[in-house]
């Protein structure tokens, strides 16, 4: 099951890439755990995860071709 990950704002600055694909993850929480293990700078950062443009929680399931977005606090307007 392949998913696409996209990062924005401050979170994109912390990660080595802004957009990539990965697989083997079943929930948004599993992705969060994997990322924070790999990039310790992510820990303590506030960010929401959106799955297919809807705000998700850690239990939200990922599906084949899901687009998962890492969203730091909004600052539009």
């Amino acid at each position: 099951m392949t998913i696409k990950i996209v990062a924005f704002g401050k979170i994109a600055d912390i990660l080595p890439q802004q957009e990539w694909e990965t697989d083997g993850l079943e929930t948004a929480g599993m992705l969060r755990g994997q990322l924070e293990a790999k990039y310790p700078n992510l820990k303590g950062q506030r960010y929401l995860i959106a799955v297919d443009k809807k705000i998700a929680n850690d239990d939200s399931p990922l599906e084949e071709h899901s687009v998962v977005a890492l969203l730091p606090p909004f600052s539009g307007g």
Binding site: A50, L71, F74, S75, G77
Partner: protein, 157 residues
């Protein structure tokens, strides 16, 4: 910049409208938008909110611009949802929302929310609510660019 005006007979809320504009929103564009409403004879009140980039000083560095980025696909869905909800809640004649992407210098306008109604209460309350929802719900980020080329990611209060 969109040239169309909304025809109230064709369910304005159901049209997807372009919100993002590249760079700052000019004062002349705001003036032109107002002028287009002079043919709408049932409007009694317009409420307008404009966000302008401040030259804040943060630890002795001066903000010279904000560089806006967005998760465009999600932001457009959110803008549409806010638009639909607001038309459902308030008896509005028109609503227009424009938000900048890219670089907006200090003193320039980055957000333009424009609501019109028969009476003032609806226009004012709707404008207010749209602005609050944009700040809280729409995935847009502002990167404050300092005069020494450093930057800092802004956070809305």
């Amino acid at each position: 910049m969109e040239k169309q005006t909304i025809n109230t007979e064709e369910k304005p809320s159901h049209r997807h409208k372009k919100v993002f504009v590249e760079g700052p929103i000019s004062a002349a564009f705001v003036g032109d938008s107002i002028a287009k409403h002079s043919t709408k004879m049932d409007i009694g009140a317009h409420s307008i909110f404009l966000g302008q980039v401040r030259k804040d000083v943060i630890e002795s560095q001066e903000v010279v611009a904000i560089d806006y980025s967005a998760y465009a696909e999600m932001a457009e869905e959110k803008f549409h949802e806010i638009r639909e909800d607001t038309f459902a809640k308030y008896p509005l004649t028109c609503m227009h929302i424009y938000h900048s992407l890219g670089k907006v210098n200090a003193g320039e306008i980055c957000l333009f929310v424009f609501t019109s109604a028969i009476h003032r209460r609806e226009a004012i309350d709707a404008c207010n609510e749209v602005v609050e929802r944009i700040k809280q719900e729409v995935p847009v980020w502002g990167k404050e660019i300092f005069d020494n080329d450093q930057h800092r990611w802004k956070e809305n209060k």
